[in-house]
């Protein structure tokens, strides 16, 4: 059964009233991989995950986890999936140790085992010192770690992580990434959501990009990035009316069109190689086109979105209009 998918979801649909939050999403997650779901606010990431975790009824479509039907056998699914939600789901009135003990007992571990596991997890997540303090004194990062630890008590073969690093500082974020990689080494499969392309890039073997409840792309992070270039040259022309001329220069040099942004005289040039930035700048100088500012940046989620959907990732007004 080595080729059995960890998650096989076909044509998932979720309606909230007459608003369709998830509109026919397919997700096939292989065993042992980290699968990323990438999308902006309101794309339907959390809703999709909650349906797969039996926290929301599936309105239409079919989902299986390790061959178990999500709709028909929710109790089995709950034994196979560890869920770390977008917002910490731990008990604020208990201490960290009490939380872990409670969740272990609820899952049928005998009292002494529950105590040992709680201790082990606290140590592994660097929470021993704070173990017996009330959670109200916990920082966001500590809460997140406790939340993740709570999902690992029975070593579930599949782990859902909904935006595991949103709101964490860069160092804590790196630690969280290491932890996630460790889980895969232990044999778990991970389905995570994120708003950051670089996070998907760092962690995920494959990525599905979703937008307004639909999957718009699915590929390896490298392949996704190559659609928008390895990096981007952001140009501000001194004179906005030169835009068309500058675009010609870029096309001639790189064989590709720059992405024009709504601001006049501004354009993003996808670069296959950061070295080519110099070529573009020299080309513009030779054509006599003035530049007011210039920078080279990694492609952002927004650019991936622009390339994939033709609209920006945080285009809220457009989203409202679409409802």
């Amino acid at each position: 059964m080595a080729d059995l998918n960890a998650v096989r979801a076909d044509n998932l649909v979720k309606d909230f009233g007459d608003f369709r939050a998830v509109d026919g999403i397919d997700l096939h997650v292989r065993q042992g991989e980290i699968f990323g779901v990438l999308g902006p606010n309101g794309a339907g990431k959390t809703t999709t995950l909650r349906m797969l975790a039996t926290l929301l009824p599936i309105d239409d479509g079919h989902a299986e986890i390790f061959g178990v039907d999500v709709r028909r056998e929710p109790h089995r699914i709950r034994q196979l999936v560890g869920v770390t939600g977008q917002y910490a789901s731990v008990d604020e009135d208990l201490t960290a140790r009490e939380n872990l003990w409670l969740f272990a007992r609820l899952q049928g571990l005998p009292g002494s085992r529950a105590r040992t596991i709680a201790g082990d997890l606290l140590e592994r997540f660097g929470l021993q010192e704070a173990a017996d303090r009330p959670l109200s004194q916990f920082s966001g990062g500590m809460r997140r770690r406790l939340d993740l630890a709570s999902s690992l008590i029975t070593r579930p073969p599949l782990i859902f992580l909904d935006e595991p690093t949103t709101g964490l500082d860069p160092r804590t974020r790196g630690q969280m990434w290491d932890t996630i990689r460790e889980l895969v080494t232990d044999g778990s499969t991970i389905l995570l959501t994120t708003q950051y392309l670089d996070e998907a890039d760092q962690l995920a073997d494959r990525v599905a990009v979703i937008d307004r409840g639909r999957k718009v792309a699915e590929d390896t992070p490298d392949a996704l990035k190559s659609q928008v270039g390895d990096s981007t040259l952001q140009l501000n022309l001194a004179d906005g009316s030169d835009t068309a001329l500058a675009a010609n220069v870029v096309r001639r040099l790189l064989g590709e069109d720059p992405v024009l942004t709504p601001e006049s005289g501004r354009m993003n040039v996808p670069l296959p190689d950061p070295d080519r930035a110099a070529d573009v700048l020299i080309g513009l100088r030779e054509a006599g086109l003035g530049i007011s500012s210039v920078s080279v940046a990694k492609p952002t989620l927004d650019e991936v979105f622009l390339a994939l959907t033709g609209h920006g990732a945080d285009d809220e007004s457009q989203m409202e209009a679409a409802r």
Binding site: H75, L80, V81, G85, Y87, Q107, L121, R124, P156, D186
Partner: protein, 283 residues
């Protein structure tokens, strides 16, 4: 159970997770024994919370003291001729009223609790849907117990001498606790249905006042107008009050006691499944 591998802490280097084996170990439902363990774990959580928030006990402590003394001295003369004659009528009534107040708090607190993030985890864990509801109700048995004993103690302090003796008193308190626990399922159901803790509070008040005051808790039913007497006689609280009176004052296990127990069991049989169903739907 041969689930030792799932119970090994997930430290690097420990045995690799084997998904097909994990699938094979899953069960379609929580067994009765597992459900009981889960319910006790939830009761433990509720007890921890009680100990950390003792202000929850205010209603349990104040109401028996205040109402027993107040009602006895205000209504005693008017209704029964004297305070000491009224106490055998009043004390069982106050017991029932206090139990209902504690019930109401059960529903309101459950609603508050359910809005917290941790309930997302409870829902994502393989636990019986009744455990998060039944757990706090077990912990509440303590509150019913404290409230009943306090009421009786206040009664004793102002001159009440239960004719049923120690056994009758224990029986009366046991019945009060059981009735409170049973009726709490109504408010638990409300808690799972309502939109907010405030609305639970509001609806509960509307149910509780007629149930306690349109009963024989404080006045004999015979003194009421006919239509009111008819309601008072079918009100389950009246039966509980009569049964507690029989136990406390006469030490007698009468038919009323039987009816009260049956009535409470019926309430549980109806409202426990309703509450579990409405809780499971809310996901």
């Amino acid at each position: 159970m041969t689930t030792t591998s799932t119970m090994t802490p997930a430290t690097p280097g420990s045995r690799r997770i084997d998904p097909p084996a994990a699938v094979a170990r899953t069960t379609p439902h929580s067994s009765v024994r597992e459900t009981w363990v889960q319910t006790l774990a939830m009761a433990w959580r509720a007890l921890k919370k009680m100990r950390r928030k003792p202000e929850q006990f205010f209603d349990v402590l104040i109401q028996p003291l205040l109402f027993t003394a107040m009602f006895a001295f205000i209504f005693g003369g008017a209704i029964s001729g004297s305070v000491s004659d009224y106490l055998p009528v009043l004390i069982p009534g106050i017991l029932a009223q206090t139990a209902l107040t504690v019930c109401m708090a059960t529903g309101v607190q459950l609603r508050e609790d359910m809005d917290k993030g941790v309930f997302d985890r409870f829902k994502s864990l393989p636990i019986a849907r009744i455990a998060p509801l039944a757990g706090p109700m077990i912990a509440d048995l303590i509150r019913y117990g404290i409230a009943s004993v306090l009421t009786l103690a206040t009664g004793l302090a102002i001159g009440y001498r239960p004719g049923g003796g120690v056994l009758g008193s224990v029986g009366g308190i046991a019945l009060t606790v059981f009735a409170g626990w049973s009726l709490a399922w109504i408010f638990t159901w409300l808690g799972t249905m309502a939109r907010s803790a405030q609305s639970v509070q509001g609806i509960s008040m509307m149910i509780m006042f007629p149930l306690t005051f349109l009963s024989n808790a404080f006045v004999p039913a015979e003194t009421l107008p006919g239509w009111l007497e008819a309601f008072v006689k079918v009100n389950p609280v009246s039966h509980v009050v009569s049964a507690v009176r029989d136990l406390l004052n006469d030490g007698a296990v009468t038919a009323e006691v039987g009816w009260a127990v049956v009535g409470c069991a019926v309430v549980v049989a109806i409202f426990a499944p309703l509450a579990v169903r409405s809780y499971s739907r809310k996901m």
